[in-house]
Symmetry: C2
Subunit: 219 residues, 2 copies
Amino acid sequence: MTKRIALEKKVLSENDRIAAEIRKMLGSKKIVALNLVSSPGSGKTSLLEKSLAALKSEIKMALIAGDVQTENDAKRLIRAGGEAVCPIVTGGACHLDARMVEKAIASIDLEGIQILFIENVGNLVCPSSYDLGEEMKVALISTTEGDDKPLKYPAMFRRASVMVINKIDLLGLSDFDMAKVRKNALQINGGLKIFEVSCRTGKGLDEWYSWLRSLTGRH
Amino acid sequence: MTKRIALEKKVLSENDRIAAEIRKMLGSKKIVALNLVSSPGSGKTSLLEKSLAALKSEIKMALIAGDVQTENDAKRLIRAGGEAVCPIVTGGACHLDARMVEKAIASIDLEGIQILFIENVGNLVCPSSYDLGEEMKVALISTTEGDDKPLKYPAMFRRASVMVINKIDLLGLSDFDMAKVRKNALQINGGLKIFEVSCRTGKGLDEWYSWLRSLTGRH
C-alpha cells in the first residue's frame, strides 16, 4: 500500500509540473482559466451554454469539455455558439488531468482568447486532487442535491474559489436550505465567492456574467 | 504509467479476493447484499430511510453508510429506525472497497439479517470498479440530473442490475425525459430492472418495497 501511495504522489507531482507550465503559458497570453467541477447533472454545461449565448459578442471564450464517455457536452457548447471547443473523452478516468488539458489546449487556437473554461468530469471527489493549471476552481452545486454537500465533500469546496448554486427555480420543492448551504460552505472555506442562479429561468445569471466580465478586465 | 496500471490491477485483484470472501460469507447466512451507487444527492440515504420506515417490522436489515467525510448518513439511518448501522468514513477516498466493507461487517451483528444495504460514496465513476461482495449494484439517478447520465457514465449502469429513478415528483420542471432515460439505460444494459419513485411523495415506492420483499423470499 505504501508503494501505491508513493506512486500516486509521483503521478500527482508530475501533474503539478505540467499544470504549472499550463498556468505560465496561459498567464503569458492573459487568459483566465476556470476549472468547473460538480456532481453529474449539476448544470456545468448549462451554465456554459448560457454564458456563451450572453457573452460571446463581448468576451472571447475557449472551452474544453471533459466526459467519461460521449462528446455530448462539447456538441452542446458548439450549438450554443462556442467557436473554440475541444472535447476530452477520458474513457473511464474519473477526472481530467493536466496532460489531457495540455493536449486539448494544443488543439485550440488561443489567439485573442480571454477566458478558458475547463468543464471537468462530473465527480465531486477525484477532480479536487488534480491541478489543471487553472486560475480558479468553480464548484457548482444544485439545490436538488442537498445542502449538506460542502460538508460531505469538503476537499472540493476547500480548493474552489467560487461556488455556483444552480437550480434556484426548484427551491421550496426539496428540503434544501439556502442559508444552511452557505453556512456549510463558508465553514469549509470562508473565502468562497457565492452565486445563486437558475440556468433554466436565467435568474441570478447577470451577476455571474458581471463577474466573468470583471475577470477579463483585470489584466 | 505501465507500472502504475500493473499496481492498480494488483489492488483490484486483491479487492476481488476479499469481495469473493464477503459474498461467500453472506451467502452462507442467506443475506442479500445491495450496493447502492449514485451521484451525490440522488437520494440513496432517502431511499434507505423510507425503506427502513416501511419494512423494518417485516424485514431485518443492516446498513453500511459510506461517506468521504461526516457520519451524517449513518445518523439519518439510525434516526429512521436502523438498528444495525455502521458508518464508513473514507477520509477522502472516492469509493468503498471490499476491505472497508469487510471491517464494517465485522462490527455488525448479522444474526437474522435478511438484507444488507451498502450505501457507497456519492460518485458515478469510481465505485463501479470495486466489487464489495454484493449480490447486486443498485444505481440511483434523479430526474434533476438529466436523462443522458447512463450514456455519459456507462460503466456504472452496465454493472448495475437495478436502476432507481428518484425525484419523479420534479418531472416536468426540467428537460428530463423518462422515455429517453429508459432508452439510454437499456441501450447500455438491456437487463436493467427499473423503478420510478419519489422518496419525497412516496410515489412508486410500493413496487420497490415489493421487490425487496421478493429478495428475502428467494432462499
